[in-house]
Structures are given as structure tokens and as C-alpha cells.
């Protein structure tokens, strides 16, 4: 069957189960947009800036556990996606970004809106393609989705010259799963390594599970929870791992690392066995490398062999999908009757008591001040009033850390944040993407007054697609995280961090046809949140917070994680 390249693209998207595309049109993709009109089963979300299309596709992918899709034009459309792509790459999020390109005969001519986006995105995509022959179009799209969703997931970019999508191509149904000569990720763990890991787990007196985003990517929460509960092993999570293990579980120690809890960092520093699951020993987690888990044997489960022993030497590496590896461990323990639960509990109780003491000594907290709204209080109220059941997105900075510390994520795929790259401006487009993926759910963007302005134009997108997302701005009139560093390490010299001119966010919400609410006193916080949650429209909640509140605990950069600055 002969069809145009644009029609082939639509067919391929549907083959892949795509139903929502985030995008922005332009000259090089006008044929594709024309074709979209004839495909009403594909919802196109018109963003107001291409960066937002990628963040929205990223959050959509996280909520649904499927591949997110963005479509933009050539040149500036393509370059505007780079931040979003780099963020998805750092966080291992499966997305496919289609960029328009100038016609093949003009490539290399410095044509209007031409840019070598394949060259630009080579270091920040899992893989990318320039389709130069229409006969390669269909296999390339299928391969792109296959690469994005398998192995360690990640973004894939497909650059589509205008003449390619306008030419005719022979369409044939897919004959089976994509097979590639060079790319075959390892899913199944090596049984010998599983046995070694299990023996170490059974022997350990002070074990800690350190769970990262891989637990969520591989849908391994149930297996992780089973392992922890069977052996009473305490769990700490990375920013990307939050929700992978219930935050309200007695064995949860919350987040570790630079702004992790005192007790999680102390537990890691004192454990005799660290079980890293789908985490990559990022510098924000480890602090000074030689002081990280210095007495521990380390088991590391990761699907990406290059993550293993990259930053920290590992004793028992397991290259596998987290779900398969954890199931393997649980199975081995059961088969070998290693689950003498009474004996295990007796052995581990002193360790759990030690952690309990640390928790008692320095619980996660903040100092209340009368008449002033503390940002942590706002997050606690959001947690309470949504029953911990909302989908939370964040911007980047203090807002992100307070959200991570004070909201209890009990389920995977409920917390979306730009973890590795740390993109200010992620939260609002991500909230839209999350809302498109889960239309009935409460979606809240916990934002700062600085970062919300980096993609504020997306209020129009939220309104257009009737996304009733709630934006909670923790407004301190500062670029707060940088200000905090300046306060602590730069002699309180606040260079370029005060936001002297700020918009009136309530009026701004109204200008977009959204609802604006403001709280300036602690007593107004709850009514504002309640009103926002009851409103079937996009809402900005402007919380005027304690201006110079800091995020604590804090491990100064380059210090050991036990050297925390506390509240």
C-alpha cells in the first residue's frame, strides 16, 4: 500500500499505541500537521514553547509507563527541545522526539531554519536518526520506539526532512518485534550473582536498600517491597526513586543524599550491606565518595552495565532489569528457606533501633514561626489534603527539595521531577503531560516563583486542554536555592538572586483565564488549598512564604554525607 511519509508516521504512531502527541507546528512539519487533521484518534496538545512539549511528553511517559511523543519543526523548534531531551536522558525517560528538517537537497546549505539537530543531540539522546530515504522511514520509527522503551529507557530523536514526509512509501504491517544486530539489553540476572547477593543479604546485620528511578522504570515496587518486608530491611530512596517504596511505610527512611534525611544518611554511612537497586551513585547522593558507605559491601542492580562501578566500586554487580533481579532474589531466599523471619527480626532489631534513635534525634522538621507561612507546612498541608494521592510535579530548587522531603509518595509514577539535569521550568509542562495521562487525578506542580516563570506560558496550554492542574508557588521573591548557597558559603552576598520585579501571580492566572488564589498567613493555607482542589480549572496558589527559609538537612557539596547542616 503506497502512502505518504506523513501518513506512514501516523500509522506507525498508532502501531506503538500512541494516543497523545505534544507539539508545535512549523514550516518543515506542515505536511505532518496537515495529516494530523485526518487522524482524530491522535490527540495533539499544542504547547506554547517546544521545550514544554518535551517535558510534557516526559511526564506523560512517567505516569503511563509508555513512550511519550513530541513533534516540532526544524531549526529553532528543534533546538528548543534540547533541554527537555537532555533532562529525559539524565532521568532515563522513554520519549521519541520528531523534528522537522529542511528538504534533503538543502541539508548542509545553511537553509532557512536548518540546524544539525542530530549532531546537536548526539550526546543527550540514547540514539538519534536522520531519515534520508523514505524507504527507511517506517523501520526507523519502529526502531526508535524500541530503543526508547527497552533496556535503560531514554530519549530518541528522529529528524524528518520535509521532502521525506511528502514522498510516497510502501507501508507494510510490522512482522514482529524489532530485532537489532547491535542492541540487545540484558534483562535476566546471572543466577550466580543472585546467589552471591542473597548470601550477602542473609549474612548482613545492618543492611540498607538504596532504591533509585530504575525501580519505577521497571515497575519493581512490589518486588522491592516484598524484599524489604520479608527481611525487615530499611529503604532509602533517591529523588528519582521516591514512590518506588511507600513513603509512609515504617521501613522507609525517605530520601538520602544532599537534602536527604539525617537518619537515611547515617544509616548508609553505618550499614554493612548496601543494596543499590536501579540507582547510579550520583554525586548528590554520595557526597564525598570515599566517605560513602565506607563499611559496606555493595550490591548493585542496574540494567546499564556502564552505571556499575562508575563512581563507587561495587562488590556484587547484577546487570539486569530491577524487577527480574529482585524477583530472582526473592525467589532464591524462598527456595533456600532463608526467610527464617523470627531469626532475621532478632538479628536486625538492634540495627532498626539504631536507625530509630537517629530518627528521634533529628527528625525531618522545621521551625515554626507565628504569622509566617513556612514552605514545608504548605507541602505537608498538600500531602494531608490530597491524602498523599496526588501526582506531584516540581520545578527545580528549594521547591523541589521541600516537595521531596515533606510529601509522602506511596505509589510509583506519582512524582515527576527533573532529577539529573535539574531543569527549572519542568514542573508546569510536566503537570500538563501528567494530567493528559491521568485525566481524573489531582495534579499539583510544586513551584518556586523563579522557576515557574521559565515556562509560565504553558498556562495557556493547560487552559486550552482543560487541564485542571494546581500550581502551588512557594513564593519567597528569591531564586531560593542559590540564595541559600550564597547565605551559607558566599558570605550572604546575594548576587542576582533577589527577584526584585515579580508578577502578580493572582492577576497573571486571571489573565490566562485560570484561577488565582493567595495565602499570606498560615491560617490561609488550608482554605486556599481546599478551594483550589475544589476548582475545576487551572489554579495558581501563591503562597507568600518565609523569605529566607532554607532546605535542611544539607550536605555541603564535596562533604561526607554525615557532615550535615541540620535545622
Amino acid at each position: 500500500m503506497k502512502i505518504t511519509g506523513a501518513q506512514a508516521l501516523m500509522k506507525c504512531l498508532k502501531e506503538q499505541g500512541v494516543d497523545v502527541i505534544f507539539g508545535f507546528p512549523g514550516g518543515a512539519v506542515i505536511d505532518i500537521y496537515d495529516e494530523l487533521l485526518r487522524n482524530e484518534d491522535l490527540t495533539h496538545v499544542l504547547v506554547r514553547h517546544e521545550q514544554a512539549a518535551v517535558h510534557a511528553a516526559d511526564a506523560y511517559a512517567r505516569v503511563k509507563g509508555e513512550v511519550g511523543v513530541a513533534l516540532v519543526t526544524s531549526g529553532p523548534g528543534a533546538t528548543n527541545t534540547v533541554t527537555g531531551i537532555a533532562s529525559a536522558y539524565c532521568d532515563s525517560i522513554p520519549i521519541v522526539v520528531f523534528t522537522g528538517q529542511v528538504p534533503t537537497q538543502l541539508i548542509g546549505n545553511d537553509a532557512f531554519q536548518e540546524v544539525d539537530i542530530v549532531g546537536i543531540t548526539r550526546p543527550c539522546t540514547k540514539h538519534n536518526y536522520l531519515v534520508k530515504d523514505v524507504n527507511d522511514l517506517i523501520p526507523t520509527i519502529r526502531e526508535a520506539f524500541h530503543i526508547a522503551r527497552t533496556g535503560r529507557p531514554g530519549p530518541v530523536l528522529v529528524d524528518l526532512p520535509k521532502d521525506i514526509v511528502a514522498s510516497m512509501v510502501n507501508y507494510t504491517e510490522p512482522t514482529g518485534p524489532v530485532k537489532m544486530r547491535t542492541y540487545r539489553p540484558t534483562y535476566e540476572p546471572h543466577p550466580g550473582q543472585i546467589e552471591k547477593a542473597c548470601k550477602a543479604i542473609v549474612k548482613a546485620k545492618k543492611p540498607v536498600i538504596y532504591a533509585g528511578g530504575g525501580v519505577i522504570a521497571s515497575n519493581a515496587s512490589a518486588e522491592l517491597t516484598e524484599l524489604s518486608h520479608k527481611l525487615n530491611i530499611p529503604v532509602t530512596m533517591t529523588l528519582m526513586g521516591l514512590g518506588g517504596f511507600p513513603g509512609t511505610d515504617p521501613l522507609s527512611m525517605g530520601m538520602l543524599g544532599m537534602h536527604g534525611t539525617y537518619y537515611a544518611n547515617m544509616a548508609v554511612a553505618n550499614c554493612d550491606l548496601l543494596i543499590a537497586v536501579g540507582a547510579r551513585f550520583d554525586d548528590r547522593v554520595t557526597g564525598r565518595i570515599d566517605a560513602f558507605a565506607p563499611n559496606a559491601k555493595i550490591i548493585h542492580i542496574d540494567i546499564d552495565p556502564s552505571s556499575i562501578s562508575k563512581n563507587v566500586g561495587v562488590d556484587i554487580p547484577i546487570v539486569a532489569d530491577c524487577k527480574h533481579a529482585l524477583a530472582g532474589i526473592n525467589g532464591w531466599l524462598k527456595r533456600n528457606n532463608a526467610l527464617d523471619q523470627d531469626g532475621q527480626l532478632e538479628k536486625i532489631t538492634p540495627w532498626l533501633n539504631e536507625i530509630r534513635e537517629w530518627k528521634k534525634k533529628h527528625p525531618l522538621g522545621y521551625v515554626e514561626e507565628t504569622g509566617v507561612i513556612k514552605p514545608q507546612f504548605v507541602v505537608q498541608k498538600l500531602d494531608e489534603l490530597t491524602g498523599g494521592n496526588a501526582i506531584i510535579t516540581t520545578e527545580v530548587g528549594q521547591n523541589q527539595m521541600w516537595a521531596a522531603q515533606f510529601y509522602h509518595f506511596n505509589k510509583p509514577r506519582t512524582f515527576m521531577t527533573s532529577g539529573g539535569l535539574g531543569v527549572m521550568g519542568y514542573g508546569l509542562p510536566a503537570a500538563i503531560g501528567a494530567q493528559m495521562a491521568a485525566p481524573g487525578k489531582t495534579v499539583i506542580d510544586i513551584a518556586g516563583d523563579g522557576s515557574i516563570q521559565m515556562n509560565i506560558q504553558e498556562l495557556a496550554t493547560a487552559r486550552q486542554y482543560k487541564c485542571p492542574v494546581k500550581i502551588a508557588i512557594l513564593n519567597n521573591n528569591y531564586l531560593g536555592m542559590v540564595r541559600q548557597w550564597q547565605e551559607l558559603f558566599y558570605d550572604k552576598k546575594y548576587s542576582a538572586t533577589p527577584l526584585d520585579v515579580a508578577p502578580d501571580f493572582v492577576a497573571l492566572a486571571k489573565a490566562y483565564g485560570a484561577v488565582g488564589l493567595r495565602a499570606t498567613k498560615p491560617s490561609e493555607v488550608e482554605p486556599v488549598i481546599k478551594e483550589a482542589l475544589a476548582t475545576d480549572n487551572t489554579v495558581i496558589m501563591d503562597f507568600v512564604i518565609a523569605r529566607e527559609e532554607g532546605v535542611y538537612p544539607m550536605v555541603p557539596a564535596g562533604k561526607a554525607t554525615t557532615e550535615m547542616l541540620l535545622v
Binding site: 549532531g119 550526546p123 556502564s306 562501578s309
Partner: protein, 160 residues
């Protein structure tokens, strides 16, 4: 320590740039690089020489593996292998020195590939230390120009 790494990869546009971009982006160094098609036209073989501690070399091979277009990565240093470079050296060859130049390249089993009234261009193959030895000996005579290939390498066949 120096490592010679051989990489089989898909012969597609941009593949070389993926490899070199990986090295520059992650701060690994490339001391020499050589790449050409294999018997299979859709597969290229790339040989590169790099140096670093064991953990760096481990990262290099893992990161190379991670590239979608890479078929196989072999760290030659873990096996028995032969390696060669080639140099073409233009050396001053006038009445008084011609015989000396010929003697030197004969000892190193090189050959003259271009002749003028004032110079010879000589071709030398061998491992890096042999080529450096030739250069050191020819230098006092007067080297005018040098071009060198990167290293190429092949593992030795298993002895029966």
C-alpha cells in the same frame, strides 16, 4: 597504561562522531585513531589507542558498548595481538646522505616511495616504538615532513 581498543561498528553516517563525541564529552583521551570498512561493507573496524587507569578503561569499553551502532568492543591489551602503524617520512637525501638514508631504511625494512634530487620519501611500517626509532635516526640527517597513520591491530590466532 596504554590500551589498544578495537571496535566493530555499523558503517553509518555519524558513527565516528558518536565515538569521538563520547571521548571528548567524558574527558577520555584518544592518542590515535584509525577506521576503515571491513569485509562486510556495512561494518567498519575502528582501532583506537587510549590510556588510563583500569577503571577508566572499563568505563571506556562500557560506554562504547552502550552506543547503539557498536557491534563489538575488544580491549586488545587483554589478549595477544599484533599492531602496526605506517609512516611516510620525507628526508633530505643529497649526494652525501643518500647512501646513509638507504642503509637506515633497509635495516628497518622500509622502502623508498618517492624520489627527488634533494629528498627521499620513505615508507616504514611497524609498531610505534620502531617508527619512533627510525625517526630518531633520520632526524640528524634532516626530516622535512612526516605523516603517520593511527595504530591498527589484530588479535593473534589461537595456537592449535
Amino acid at each position: 597504561m596504554k590500551h589498544t581498543i578495537s571496535v566493530l561498528l555499523q558503517n553509518k553516517p555519524g558513527v565516528l562522531s558518536r565515538v569521538t563525541g563520547l571521548f571528548s564529552g567524558r574527558g577520555f583521551n584518544i592518542e590515535s585513531l584509525s577506521v576503515a570498512q571491513t569485509l562486510e561493507p556495512e561494518v567498519s573496524c575502528l582501532t583506537l589507542v587510549t590510556s588510563g587507569e583500569d577503571n577508566i578503561i572499563e568505563q571506556i569499553t562500557k560506554q562504547l558498548h552502550k552506543l547503539i551502532d557498536v557491534i563489538k568492543v575488544t580491549d586488545m591489551s587483554e589478549t595477544e595481538y599484533v599492531e602496526r602503524e605506517m609512516a611516510i617520512i620525507r628526508v633530505k637525501a643529497e649526494a652525501g646522505t643518500r647512501a646513509e638514508v638507504l642503509r637506515v631504511i633497509d635495516i628497518f625494512r622500509g622502502k623508498v616511495v618517492d624520489v627527488s634530487s634533494k629528498s627521499y620519501a620513505v615508507e616504514i611500517t611497524g609498531n610505534a616504538s620502531k617508527i619512533n626509532a627510525v625517526i630518531d635516526i633520520l632526524r640528524p640527517i634532516g626530516i622535512q615532513e612526516i605523516v603517520k597513520t593511527g595504530t591498527i591491530a589484530m588479535t593473534r590466532a589461537k595456537k592449535a
